[in-house]
Symmetry: C2
Subunit: 222 residues, 2 copies
C-alpha cells in the first residue's frame, strides 16, 4: 500500500500538519487501487496511514525511494527519513531509502537493495527506537561494492544566500549554498556511498547526547 504526498515536498524535515486539514485522494496504478495521495508532508502520510487509512497496523514502513541522497547533515532536513522516523515513533519498524543522484536514476538498483534490507528487517526486527537509513549508489547492480553499515557523516551545505531584486525592484534572498563534502571517515554514510557502497546507517530519534550527560551534570549554571 502506497501513501505519499500529492506533490514533491523537498527539505520539509519532520514537519507535520496540525493547524489545517489534510485532503486524501485514492489513486490507481494500471487500473487498480494502489494507494492514497495526501496534501501533507511525508511524516503526515505515515501518521495518517497508521492512524486512519490502513485497515491494520503495517509490518514495515519503507519510505522512498527518494531521488537524491540523504546522508550526513542532510538526514536532518530529509522528509524521506522523517517519514520513516515517524513510523518508528509509532512503533512500526521502518527503513528510509534514497538514491545517490539527482538525475538519470537507476531505480532497479535501489529497488533491489530496498527489498534486501526490508526482508532482513522483517526477519530480524529492529532495536527499540532505531530505524535504518539506506542510501544506494546510482550504479548498475553489478558495480555496487556491497553493503556498508555506517555512521552519519558531517558534510553539510554552506549557508550562502543570493540577494536579488524582484521585477518590482524589491529585494529577496534565495538559498544558494552548495554541498561541501568534508567527510574523511570511510565508515561515514557520505563517503561509503561515494565509494560505491550501499550505506546502511542505524539512526535513532533519541537525540540525547548521552556521552556528555555526566560532564554537563557537573556544570554550575549561573
Amino acid at each position: 500500500m502506497i501513501v505519499a504526498p500529492d506533490a514533491e515536498r523537498s527539505a520539509v524535515g519532520h514537519a507535520i500538519t496540525t493547524l489545517t486539514p489534510l485532503r486524501v485522494k485514492e489513486f490507481k496504478v494500471a487500473g487498480k487501487p494502489a494507494g492514497y495521495a495526501v496534501s501533507g508532508t511525508p511524516a503526515d502520510c505515515v501518521k495518517l496511514a497508521v492512524g486512519a487509512l490502513l485497515g491494520r497496523r503495517p509490518d514495515l514502513v519503507v519510505s522512498g525511494i527518494n531521488l537524491g541522497p540523504n546522508t550526513a547533515t542532510n538526514v536532518i532536513y530529509s522528509g524521506t527519513v522523517s517519514a520513516a522516523t515517524e513510523a518508528r515513533i509509532l512503533g512500526v519498524p521502518s527503513i528510509a531509502v534514497s538514491l545517490g543522484t539527482f538525475a538519470d536514476p537507476i531505480w532497479p538498483t535501489a529497488a533491489s537493495y530496498a527489498r534486501r534490507v526490508a526482508a532482513t528487517v522483517l526477519r530480524r526486527g529492529l532495536p527499540e527506537r532505531v530505524l535504518l537509513n539506506v542510501n544506494v549508489p546510482n550504479l548498475p547492480l553489478r558495480q555496487v561494492k556491497g553493503i556498508a553499515v555506517t555512521r552519519q557523516g558531517v558534510s553539510a551545505y554552506e549557508e550562502l544566500y543570493d540577494l536579488r531584486l524582484d521585477p518590482r525592484k524589491v529585494p529577496y534572498y534565495w538559498a544558494a549554498g552548495s554541498y561541501r563534502m568534508s567527510d574523511v571517515d570511510p565508515q561515514s554514510d557520505a563517503l561509503a556511498l561515494h565509494n560505491g557502497y550501499v550505506s546502511v546507517t542505524p539512526i535513532t530519534f533519541d537525540l540525547t547526547a548521552h556521552t556528555v550527560l555526566d560532564e554537563i551534570r557537573r556544570w554550575r549554571f549561573r
Copy 2:
C-alpha cells in the same frame, strides 16, 4: 539581534526553504531597529542570519522562548529546537528555550533561566555537535525547584485523526491525537518539567544509533 519567522510556524520541524525565495523585513521595537522578520521557517531564520543578515558570526544563538514545551518526542517536530540545531550545524553554540504551558505564560521565569543557561554556555562552550534543549516550568521564579540535566523522554502524541465533511460534503482529515504522557524516568525531560524543574537536555544532530552499530554490522542482509 532578533531574526524570527514573520508569523507562527508550528510543528515545522527542521524544514528549510530552497525552492522559493525568502522575504525579509526589518522591524523596530520602541522605535529602534531590533531585527528581521523572515517569510520562512525557524531554521531558515538561522541560516539566513548567519549567512547574510548579521555583520559578524554570532557568539550564541538562543532560539525561543517558545510558548509550549518541547520535550520527549515533540523535540523531533519542534521548529524552536531545529533553529538551535541549525545554528550548531553552522558551528555556532546554541540553546533552545521553551515554556511548559500553552496559556497564561509567566515569561520572566523562562527569561531568567534562558539568561542563566546562555551565560553558562558562553563561559564554558559546548561539546562538538551538542546543543542544549531547555524547558522551563510555568511557575513563579521562587517555585522552580532548580535545574535538572535530563534525557529526552518517550512520551508522544497519539496518531488519531478526525474524519469530517467540508461544506461541500467532501471529506477531510484533521490531526486529533492528544499527548500521551508515558514517561516514568524522573531524569527524562518531560517528567523533570512536570515535577517543577528546569529541564536541560544536551542533544545532538548526530542521529547514529552508536550502541547498535556493532550488532547491525553482524547482520547478513539477504
